[in-house]
Assembly symmetry: C2
Homo-oligomer: 909 residues x 2
C-alpha cells in the first residue's frame, strides 16, 4: 500500500514520456498536462451531408465529387430536388497546394461541364471557390505565382498565425448561364492547404504548419453550417421540406486511414461527426482487397457506408464487392477515365452522368430514409420497449432521447422533433456508471528511434476497443469455459488478481453482471462461514427442507446490491423491495444504519445514526476541512472509532441473543459510496471498524465494488480507500470499459477451499452460459490496462495509484454553499449532490429535479437523477477541464433552479 499522504496529494504532475533524451518539438505544450476539451459537434439534419472517402489515393474522389455536384445542380426539378439548389463542397485538407486544389478542380470542371453540356441554359448558376488558410510556404507560392490569376483577397492582412498558417483569402466566382436570378449555387471551399504533395501530416510537419484536430473539427462544423444562412443556423427551424435543396459533400484526402495534419488518421479525426459515407473504391488489380479493407476500416469506426463507386478497369471488381456486401450496399461502376492528361473529361462526364445520377439518388434516398427512421423512433420505442426503472406513463414522446451514436463520453443526439439537428450531450450518468471511454483526441508524444523525432499520437479508447471486439469475435466468438482456458479469460483473470485483487484474492469467478456477481459472492461467503464454523459436517445428513440453520447477511441500510432476488435479500427494505416489486423479498439481513459523510456549506461533515450518541464524540472528530482527512488511518484511535465499534458489537450481540439458529454468515458493503441508495458516502472509518469486527468473528467480508471498482472513486479499488481487505469482492460495470456486460467475483484461497472435495456436488454449482466470454474478457483486459497506464491515462498521479482531482474543489465548495443544495460528495469520477427537498419532492420517486435536468440537457449534459439526488459522472481518463466545464454549467443551472424555487415559494406565500 502507498502512503495516504501520497494518495491524496493534489499536485498535478506532468507525465513525461520515458525516453527523454530525444529532442522534443511540442506544438501545444499545454495539452500535455491538461487535455483539450472535446469538440462540440453539431450539424443539421435538414439536408443531406456526406463524406467521401477513398480506398486509396488517386482513385478519383474529386471526379465523383464533381459528378455529384453536376448531377445535383443540373438535374430537372423533382420531388426530392426543388428548383432552387445549393451544392456545398468542402475540402478540409489539401496538400500539394496550390498546384493541386480539389475545390478548384470541382469549381472549374463543373463550370466547363455546365457550359459544354447545356447549350441554352435557362437558369443561372453561381459558382465559387474559396481557400481559407494555407501554410506559409503554400501561401507564399500563391502570392508569388498569382495562382493562375485568381484574385487573392487579403483578409486580416494575410497575417501569419502562430501555427504557421496564413489566412488566405483566395476567392473566385463566376456566374454561369443566363444572366438572370441565381437558381443554383456551387460553393467550393478548401479549409487548409499545404504545399508539398505528400501525406498531410508530413506536409504539416515539414512546413511547420500543424493544425490541431479540434481546430479542424471546429472549422468543419462551420463549413457544415453553410447553406443554413437565414435559417437561423443551428437554432433555426431547418425543416427538411425547405424550398431550397441543399447538399453538402466533404472530401477527405488520400485513403480512409491516411493521416490528417496532426497525424491522427482521418477516419478517426472525423469520427465525432460520423457523417454518412461514400466510398470511392479501386477498380484496379488488387482493388477488391483495398476497397474491402477500406470499407472495413470505416465500419470499424462506426461509419455507415451508403454506396461504393469506382472506375472500371475491366476487372469486374463489382462482382466480388457486391458478394461481400451481400447486395445491401449499392456498388456503382464509372466508365474508364481517359489516361490522356490533356483530356478535358467532358465526354467522360457525359458518359458517367447516369452513374452519378443513380449515386445522387441513392444518397438522397438514404438520407430521407434515415430522417424518416429518426422521426419514427421515439414513438416506436414508446410502443414496443419496456424500459427498466421507468414509469412509461410519465414519458411523453417528445421526452424520448434518440441516441444516434456515442463518441467517447458524448452521445450524438438527433433532435428531429425540434430543430432537425444532431447535437452532442455529455453522458453524465456514465450510462448507469459503466462508462470509461474518453474522446479526448489526446495528444501524446511518441518516440521513434528511427525517425528520431517526436510524434503526436491520437489514442482513442473506443476505436481500439472496437477493433479488439472485432478481433475477439472473429477469433473466439464465445467458447465454453469450465475446465477450459482461453487467452482473454486468462489475461483478464491475471490482471484482476494483480490489480483490484492484489494482496488478497487468488481466484476469479466470472459472471454477467453485478447482481449475479453478488449472488455468487453470497454463496461463497455462506459456504466459507459454514466451513469455518464446523457446520458443514452435519449438513449432508440433514434432508432438504429440514434446515436448522438460518444464514443472514450483515449489511448497511441504503446499500443496494442488485436486482435479482438473492442480491435484493441482502438489502434493507426500500422502494425497490416492496411486495409490489418483489413479492418474494423478505430481507434476510441484519441491517445497520451507517454514519454518512458529505460536504455542507463548504465543510465535510458526518451525520451519525440515531443509536450512536454524538455526546460521546469529540467535536473535532465530526467535521473536516479536507475530504481526504476522512480517509486518514489516524482516525482509528478516535473516540468515534470506539463508538462505532461498540455500536456494531451491540447489534451483533443482540442478533445472536435473538435466535439460536440464525447466524450472520456474511458482511456485505459497498465501500465508501452507496450508489443506488443515493450516492451516499459512508464514513470510511465506520466501514473499516465494521470489517475488523466481522473478521474477528470469522464472518466473511464481501466488498460490492460493482459501482466503486476500477477508478470510479479515484483509486483502482475502493478497498484502498478503506485500507482493509475483503475475503470476496464483486466487480462489473466499468470493468469492460463500458462496452459489454461482464462481472467477476474474486475470492481468497480460503474461500475457494471450502468448495474443494471429492464430489461435484461440493463444487460451486452456479454459472451462466456466457461465463468468461471472450469479448467481455478482451474488453476488460484492455480497459484495466488502459486505465492504469500513464501513457493512456494522463489523469494518473502518485505513481499510477491515484487519479488527480477531476472536480474543481473550489467550485464544489461553491455548490455546497447554494441554498438549494443539501449536501455534496465529490470523489474520483463522481460529483453528486442532494437537492434540498421535502415531502414527495424527496426520495427515489421524486420528480423534483426534472426542470433542472431538462436545462442541463440544453447545455449538452445528459444527467439522470436518483430522485432528488443529482450527479455528474465522468470516466477515469476524462480531462479535468471537461469536468470543470460540466461543473460550471451545473452551478449556473443550480443557481437558476434555486431562484425559480424561491420565486415559486414566495408566490405561494
Amino acid at each position: 500500500m502507498f502512503p495516504l499522504s501520497a494518495l491524496f496529494a493534489t499536485a498535478r504532475r506532468r507525465i513525461l514520456p520515458t525516453p527523454t533524451s530525444l529532442r522534443l518539438r511540442l506544438h501545444h505544450p499545454n495539452l500535455f498536462s491538461t487535455q483539450p476539451p472535446p469538440p462540440s459537434i453539431e450539424y443539421t439534419l435538414s439536408h443531406p451531408i456526406y463524406m467521401i472517402w477513398g480506398a486509396n489515393t488517386g482513385v478519383g474522389k474529386t471526379l465523383v465529387s464533381t459528378g455529384l455536384a453536376s448531377s445535383f445542380l443540373l438535374s430537372p426539378p423533382s420531388l426530392s430536388l426543388p428548383p432552387t439548389r445549393k451544392f456545398i463542397y468542402l475540402k478540409p485538407v489539401q496538400t500539394g497546394f496550390p498546384s493541386d486544389s480539389d475545390s478548384r478542380f470541382v469549381y472549374n470542371k463543373f463550370s466547363q461541364f455546365f457550359l459544354h453540356g447545356i447549350k441554352n441554359p435557362s437558369f443561372t448558376v453561381l459558382a465559387s471557390n474559396h481557400v481559407l488558410k494555407a501554410s506559409i510556404s503554400a501561401a507564399d507560392s500563391v502570392l508569388t505565382r498569382g495562382s493562375d490569376g485568381v484574385p487573392v483577397v487579403e483578409t486580416g492582412e494575410g497575417g501569419e498565425l502562430e501555427s504557421g498558417f496564413r489566412d488566405l483569402g483566395l476567392y473566385e466566382e463566376s456566374k454561369l448561364g443566363e444572366d438572370g436570378a441565381v437558381a443554383a449555387e456551387l460553393i467550393c471551399k478548401t479549409m487548409y492547404g499545404w504545399r508539398e504533395a505528400v501525406s498531410a501530416h508530413l506536409a504539416a510537419e515539414r512546413e511547420g504548419a500543424v493544425v490541431d484536430d479540434l481546430e479542424v473539427l471546429e472549422m468543419l462544423k462551420r463549413g457544415l453550417g453553410i447553406g443554413l444562412e437565414g435559417r437561423g443556423g443551428c437554432e433555426g427551424s431547418g425543416e427538411s421540406g425547405d424550398n431550397v435543396g441543399v447538399f453538402s459533400l466533404v472530401e477527405t484526402a488520400g485513403g480512409v486511414a491516411s493521416p490528417g495534419p496532426s497525424g491522427s488518421l482521418q477516419c478517426d479525426l472525423y469520427r465525432p461527426f460520423r457523417l454518412p459515407a461514400i466510398l470511392v473504391g479501386d477498380g484496379r488489380l488488387g482493388g477488391i482487397s483495398s476497397t474491402i479493407s477500406a470499407y472495413e476500416s470505416l465500419k470499424l469506426r462506426g461509419y455507415d457506408v451508403v454506396a461504393v463507386v469506382f472506375e472500371d478497369h475491366g476487372l469486374v471488381n463489382e462482382v466480388p464487392l457486391l458478394s461481400y456486401l451481400r447486395n445491401r450496399v449499392p456498388v456503382l461502376v464509372l466508365p474508364p477515365i481517359p489516361e490522356d492528361m490533356s483530356d478535358t473529361l467532358m465526354e467522360w462526364f457525359d458518359e458517367a452522368q447516369t452513374v452519378f445520377g443513380s449515386l445522387k439518388e441513392t444518397m438522397i434516398l438514404a438520407y430521407i430514409q434515415r430522417i424518416e427512421r429518426l422521426h419514427s423512433m421515439p414513438k416506436m420505442a414508446q410502443d414496443i420497449f419496456w424500459w427498466p426503472f421507468t414509469q412509461h406513463k410519465l414519458v411523453p414522446e417528445e421526452a424520448v432521447t434518440i441516441i444516434d451514436s456515442r463518441c467517447g463520453e458524448n452521445f450524438a443526439v438527433p433532435k428531429v422533433l425540434k430543430n432537425n439537428f444532431i447535437t452532442q450531450q455529455f453522458d453524465a450518468c456514465a450510462s448507469w456508471w459503466t462508462q470509461g471511454p474518453d474522446l479526448t483526441l489526446q495528444v501524446i508524444l511518441f518516440f521513434l528511434i528511427t525517425y528520431k523525432d517526436s510524434w503526436k499520437l491520437t489514442m482513442w479508447f473506443q476505436i481500439e476497443l472496437a477493433r479488439d471486439m472485432g478481433y475477439a469475435a472473429a477469433r473466439f466468438g464465445h467458447v465454453m469455459f469450465p475446465e477450459n482456458v482461453h487467452e482473454p479469460a486468462l489475461e483478464c483473470a491475471e490482471l484482476l488478481l494483480e490489480g483490484v485483487g492484489k494482496g488478497w484474492a487468488s481466484r476469479t469467478f466470472f459472471s454477467d453482471n453485478g447482481s449475479t456477481a453478488i449472488e455468487i459472492a453470497l454463496k461463497m461467503a455462506f459456504r466459507k462461514f459454514l466451513f469455518d464454523n464446523g457446520m458443514l459436517l452435519d449438513l449432508p445428513k440433514a434432508k432438504t427442507g429440514d434446515r436448522c440453520i438460518e444464514l443472514k447477511v450483515l449489511a448497511l441500510r441504503g446499500s443496494y446490491h442488485g436486482d435479482t432476488l438473492g442480491a435484493m435479500e441482502a438489502q434493507a427494505p426500500s422502494s425497490y423491495t416492496g411486495f409490489l416489486q418483489q413479492p418474494w423479498y423478505t430481507g434476510r439481513g441484519l441491517f445497520l444504519d451507517p454514519p454518512t459523510a458529505f460536504m455542507d456549506n463548504g465543510v465535510w461533515k458526518l451525520s451519525l445514526p440515531e443509536r450512536i450518541h454524538p455526546e460521546n464524540v469529540k467535536v473535532e472528530d465530526m467535521a473536516f476541512r479536507l475530504r481526504d482527512e476522512l480517509f486518514c488511518k489516524s482516525r482509528d484511535g478516535s473516540s468515534l472509532a470506539a463508538c462505532y465499534s461498540s455500536y456494531i458489537s451491540q447489534a451483533l450481540s443482540l442478533h445472536s441473543r435473538m435466535s439460536e439458529y440464525s447466524h450472520i454468515g456474511a458482511l456485505i458493503i459497498e465501500p465508501v459510496i452507496q450508489g443506488s441508495g443515493g450516492m451516499l458516502m459512508v464514513d470510511p472509518l465506520f466501514q473499516r471498524v465494521l470489517v475488523e469486527e466481522c473478521q474477528r468473528r470469522k464472518i466473511p467480508v464481501i466488498f460490492d465494488e460493482v459501482f466503486t471498482g476500477f477508478w470510479r472513486l479515484g483509486v483502482e479499488s475502493a478497498a484502498e480507500l478503506l485500507c482493509c481487505q475483503p475475503d470476496i469482492a464483486c466487480f462489473a460495470k466499468l470493468m469492460t470499459g463500458g462496452i459489454v456486460p461482464l462481472a467477476a467475483t474474486l475470492a481468497t484461497d480460503a474461500v475457494f477451499n471450502a468448495f474443494v472435495g471429492d464430489s461435484k456436488l461440493q463444487a460451486l454449482l452456479h454459472g451462466h452460459s456466457y461465463t468468461a466470454h471472450a469479448l467481455g474478457c478482451t474488453a476488460a483486459a484492455k480497459s484495466i490496462k488502459w486505465f492504469k497506464e500513464s501513457k493512456t491515462n494522463i489523469n494518473l498521479i502518485s505513481e499510477g495509484s491515484l487519479l488527480r482531482e477531476l472536480w474543481d474543489m473550489d467550485l464544489v465548495q461553491q455548490i455546497s454553499l447554494l441554498r438549494t443544495v443539501d449536501r455534496v460528495v465529490a470523489l474520483g469520477t463522481l460529483c453528486a449532490l442532494e437537492l434540498r427537498a421535502e415531502g414527495s419532492n424527496a426520495g427515489y420517486a421524486s420528480l423534483f429535479a426534472r426542470s433542472l435536468l431538462q436545462n442541463l440537457r440544453e447545455d449538452g449534459i445528459y444527467a439522470r437523477p436518483l430522485g432528488n439526488v443529482i450527479y455528474l459522472m465522468c470516466g477515469p481518463c476524462t480531462s479535468p477541464r471537461t469536468c470543470r466545464q460540466l461543473l460550471e454549467k451545473l452551478y449556473r443551472r443550480l443557481e437558476e433552479f434555486g431562484r425559480a424555487n424561491e420565486n415559486l415559494k414566495s408566490s405561494q406565500v
Copy 2:
C-alpha cells in the same frame, strides 16, 4: 400459424435464389442442397509457420519470402537455429502462371543469392521448386513452351481433372555449395497455377478451373505437414527441441482481401488455420492507409499480426504506422527496391539482410513465446480460475483444454502437452447451448444484374458478426437505455416481436442472461396476477413485511430456470438447490411431475408420473412410430389428455385447499425440452393442457425459452411445437448467435399494463447496467435474421418455418437399440441420450460417461455431459452431413463403451 402437417414434412426442398431468369453456371450443384463438411484443420506447433499477407498487390511479398528463406537457411547456427534446417515456402494460389511463379522466384533468387553471397560455402543446400496443379490453359502453356527448360514430370499422365486442372509435375532442384551432406533445404511449392495475370477468382472462372475452398485447405494442410516426415506426421512427437530447424511460410496472392479461386476472400478462406501473420505494407503515398486497413481486415478475422514490413519510398510511413500500432507490433523498413527490371537484386538483398535478420528473429521469438504461453496456460488456469459447475479437485492439468480459437462450430485445440499439434474439435455442447455460427464456407449462388452471371458467395456468419461487433462498439459502445432509443435495440425488439413473440407479445424487456430474464418474468407474472385478481388495491395500505399474501409458481419437476435465487426458487429441489449450494433456497412452488417422452428401442414412448394411472390410458396413446406424432393436435381429444387435465386440476385444488393465503401466481415451464434437468422431453400434450388449465384460472403463463428459443428445437420458438401462447417468455443464449450475453423477456400488453400508473414506484423497478447494450442487440438482430432467411440458412424448409431434420433418424433409431442406451431424444439441433446406469453412475454428479467423452474428444468432438446424459448439439445452420458424421462417431464410441462395460461386469461376476 402454419398447418402442422407442413411443419413436420421431412421432404427436403431446394432453396432456389429468386431471380431464376438468369443463367446459372453451377460448378458444384450438389453443394446447393447439402453443404460440404467443414475442413479438418490440423497443423504442427513444433516449428514456426507463418502466413505472409500484402497490404496491396505488388508490395513485395515474394521478396520478403526470399529474404526470410535466405536469412533462415544461411544464418550461423544459434540457440534458436540448429545447424540442420529446412525452409518450406508454399504458394497455394498463383495466377499469371507460368510467366509468374513466386515459388520459382524464391527458388531462383535464393540460389543466386547463395552463390553470390557465399564465396566458399562450407555446407550444402538442396533447393527445389515444385508446381503441383495448373489450369489446363496454364499447363498447356508450360508443356508447349517447356517453361525455360524445367523438367515436367508427368504424374498420373498429367490427367485432365474434372475441375479443369492438370496434375502438373513441374519439378526442379539444385544442390548448392559444397558437394557434401545436405545441411539445409529449401522446398518451394506452388499448389495451383492459372494462366491469366488477374485475380484468382477471375482466372479460375475464365479458365474453367475453379477449385473448391475445402480442397485448397486440404492441400494446404498437406503442405504444412512437409518437414515432419519421419516424425510420424500429426501423430508424431514433434518436440520443438528437435535438431532439425524447420520454418514454413505460406504466401498469399494479392491483397489480404483479394479473392481466392472460388471467390472467397483469402482472409476468409485461410481463416480456419488462423496462422500467425506477417503483413507486407505499402511504403508509397497512400500506403499508410492501405497498410492500416489491411491490418484491420486481418484483425477482424482473428489473425495475429506479428510484424509489418514494407519498402521505403522516402515517406517515413513507419512513423504513423508505429503510432497506430502503439509500438506493440514491430514495423520494419526495407531499402528501396531497384526499379530497373534487369537488376539481379543481389545488392539489394545484401543491403536488406539485417532487416530480414530481425524479421526472422521477431518471428521465431513470437513463435517461442506463443508455445511457452500455451504450455503454461493449463496450469495457470487451474491456479487462478474458479470454473463454474466444476469440482476443481477432479480436473488434473492434462485434462484442461486450451481453446485457441473458434471457427464456426469448431474449436482449435492445441495439444501442447501431448503431441504439439493444433487440432480441431466440434463444439458439440454448443458452448452451453449458446452457439449458432456455422463454418461451412457455404456456397450460395449470387446474382448480378450487371454481370449477368452466377456468383459464388462465401458467407460466413462469424466473420460478419465480428465486423458488426466492431461497428457497434465504434458507433455506440454502450449507451443508457431507459427513456432512450437507439437503432440496435429498436431493430432487435422489432425482430423479437415479429419472430418469437409473433401473435402475442408486444413489449420487450432486455436483460443480461436467462436467469435475470426469468426473475423479471416472475415479477411481471406476479404483478399481472395481483392485478387480474384485484389484489393490488389493498397492497399500498399494507406495510412492508406485513404480507398476508403468499405467491407461488406452478412448475414442473426437473425444470431449471437459472442460478440466481429468484430463478432457483421456481425449480423443484435438486442437486443445485441444497443448503450447501444455496442456503436461502426454499422452493416457492407447487411442483408437478411431468410425463416424459423419448425413443427407446426404436419406438417413441411416454413415461407417466406415478399419480397418473396408466390403466386409464389407451395403449395407442402411449407409443408412437414417429416423433412428430407427439406434437399432433389431434391428441387433444385422447383419454390421456383428460387424465392430464384431471391430474393438474386435482393438484391445483389441493394446493388452494391447503392455504388461504398461498396463491399460484404464475406457471413457468420450459416448452418441450427440460435442458439442465437432463434433456428430458416433456409430453407436449401435457404442457398444452397445463397452459390451458392455467389460462382458464387467470394464472399468467411464462415460457422459459432460454434454451429452446431460436431454432434450438427446429422451430424459431418452441411455443410453435406446443401450439399455444404464453403471456410472458424469456429468451437468451442463441439469441445473439452465441457471441455475447443478452436476454429478453417478452410480454403481452396486458402484462405491461399492470405496471402503468402515476408513480414511478408502480413501474417495474428492475434493470441491469448493460440493458439493451448495442453489441448484444446488434448481434441478436443479425442472428435472428440470419437464422430465418433461406439465403443464409439453407436448413430452412416449410417456407422458412422449420429446420429440416438434422439428425439421421435411422441412425438415431440404431442408437436407441444399443443396450447401453436408456433413451434418446433427437429434435432440432439436439440429439441427447441417457446411458443406462445405476447407483452413483446415474445422476448429475456421475462420472460414468468420462471414458466415452474422452474417446469422443479423440474423434474431434467436444461434448460435455449432464451426469450420465450425453448430447450432441449443433447450430441452426449446421449441415446434416456434419451431424451425420458426429452421430456415426458417437454410435461407434457407444458400441465400444457398451462392450467395455459388459466386459467389466462379466469380469466382476
